[in-house]
Symmetry: C2
Subunit: 408 residues, 2 copies
Amino acid sequence: MEYKSAVISIGNELLIGKTINGNMGFLGSELAAMGFPVDVCEMINDERDAILESITRCWEKYDVVITTGGLGPTEDDITRNVIADFFGKKLQFDDEVWEHITKMFKHRRTKMADSNKVQAMIPEDFTVLRNDRGTAPGLYYSEGGKHFFALPGVPAEMTHLFNFHLREILKDNFDDISGMVQQDLHTFGVSESGLAEMISEKELPEGAHLAWLPQTGRVDLRIYGSDMEALKAAREVVVRKAGEFIWAIDAESPAAVLLDWLKERKLKLAIAESCTGGWVQKHITAVPGSSEAYLGGVVSYSNESKMKLLGVKESTLAEHGAVSSETVLEMARGVKELFDADISIAVTGVAGPDGGTEVNPVGTVYFGFRVGDKSFEAKQISSGGRDRIRHRAAEAAILFLYNFLMDE
Amino acid sequence: MEYKSAVISIGNELLIGKTINGNMGFLGSELAAMGFPVDVCEMINDERDAILESITRCWEKYDVVITTGGLGPTEDDITRNVIADFFGKKLQFDDEVWEHITKMFKHRRTKMADSNKVQAMIPEDFTVLRNDRGTAPGLYYSEGGKHFFALPGVPAEMTHLFNFHLREILKDNFDDISGMVQQDLHTFGVSESGLAEMISEKELPEGAHLAWLPQTGRVDLRIYGSDMEALKAAREVVVRKAGEFIWAIDAESPAAVLLDWLKERKLKLAIAESCTGGWVQKHITAVPGSSEAYLGGVVSYSNESKMKLLGVKESTLAEHGAVSSETVLEMARGVKELFDADISIAVTGVAGPDGGTEVNPVGTVYFGFRVGDKSFEAKQISSGGRDRIRHRAAEAAILFLYNFLMDE
């Protein structure tokens, strides 16, 4: 059986655009994997009527309903009260929860506020989901085969409660779930419509579905369904049709794939960045254990630092400019020597909004690579704003190198 | 008058957690500022019934309804058809749109797919919102004083259509809108409940509202409402109560504030990072024109690079370790000299999941600063995973320095 779930994200900050709803990203992927795919996510204000209306609609329609947000200590946190009213339960002060909150504050060596007392008010017949990451406990209630969870909105606390309580509770209560299986085939160098031209869901075996998931600068092909055999057959079809663009299957990130490859060969990497200003290195160092294959790098934002640290020649900068394939190749060579690395990446470009020229309009980025004593280069032109141009370039730097290493 | 709007975010990728709904962030903040605050955002699957149900509910209740997503060329993009059916309009092939799509492909030098033809199908009586960033045109329809917009899901295209079409259309159609005014007072060094203890919405003048917006490692206080005078008075109350923790008002980012301060004084910055691995520099270089005050920096991930590039003494590393205030101060001194900067930041710590010790458990981060010939340091202990620890440290590095400069 497959069950459906609904997520209600509560909080003014989500609707006025101050906070991006990252919680939904986590819940969506975890619940789908567990066999309770999210069918709807309603983002609403901390307003009594809105919360009541949303819970009423979802509780009627879905097997699992999860709210996030509105459990904090401030006066706009009203989720707890509305839930109690909806289920017709009284709020009761819970000594054990209060003791836990007191301990949390002691541990953090922060002064506790009186307002935190409301966080110990629990609707009767509800189960408290102990929160070891913060002061707002989660709340759980079950009735007529349906399951209701209220979780705090702070991402670290929400994921903690999901992992330590919800998984267990859902598994214990549904013994006939058949989790969705899914596989992501990551592509690079082809557009969404290009892929749609190559392959269609109609060509896949029955029971296998296909989704095109555009990332920044690349597209993932997701195959999903509950029949493992259909999925395997579907993967073969997709690989046959679009294999030349697929660089990995179910990878955590381009950086993780590259680092695994380097670690296996005990090779060391160094990076020099200009326009991406640290973003490529942020990707690399986001991977736990990256220090085994990553030595470090330089953000050479000024021409002086390109010359002094990386040994880019003054004549190269004068003749070709800082944004050129000549400069980026010297940067790659220089940073490899500086860190005594085996392989290096270098990036330079025009992220805008200013600085564009006829030769190098805003969005032009040059990539230089040095692998042993071989050099190669790549160029990318992106549209969009500064953030998008940098984001695309930061991942492309890693994928250009990885594809080159695979081809060799 | 204030009007209310609804956003319907369409796409399986949003519900299976593959894509975070960043579009809602943009629309939420822009629409609130224009006087059409978003009252609900429904995230739903690319399914006929779900889309129909959602549009029916929102079109009845709200003045402005915006859908995003499902206008692409692939077979799961059905928004266009469902909209045509809901409003009882036939789809017609639009030659002008087709010509525009053809041009876009030529410009990109990409092979056009036949599937793109569906993107030129427009419901009769709808206005085409020309898309200069992609192949999916936006769609606009108005009836009975209500306004319906269908926008593509790709963020760059969505924001482009919003800025170039929606703003104008909404302004032309509502001459009595009174935009929400809002002001963000950014705090650092105090918790959400700490702030809730200091100040409550009840203490503010009527017409002014208060929201606590937790960021990663800091909290913003937002004052909002439609009465400018009430807002000014409210700001005075908030500054009187929590002024010591406020580092800026309506700032773009900590990095932008620091860079402005440096530029005014013609001072130059350099940065050395270990555990944050480029993230501090990514923040700094995200600001357009940062090169005026930012020279560059080093990601010294290995001990060798800390010694060789930054001049950290072997004895310091041996005696105190790479994660210590002694090392971080030498890193700060070293990177300042290396780049011949006026001011420097250095960061070292344990981002986890491994590498924690009794003295420095996972989450411990040391910050070193060098301002002229003065040094100072700071330390932060964060809970949560690798990503959260690095994220908190990257912004804290900038804010510790900025607060120090303000105090001097």
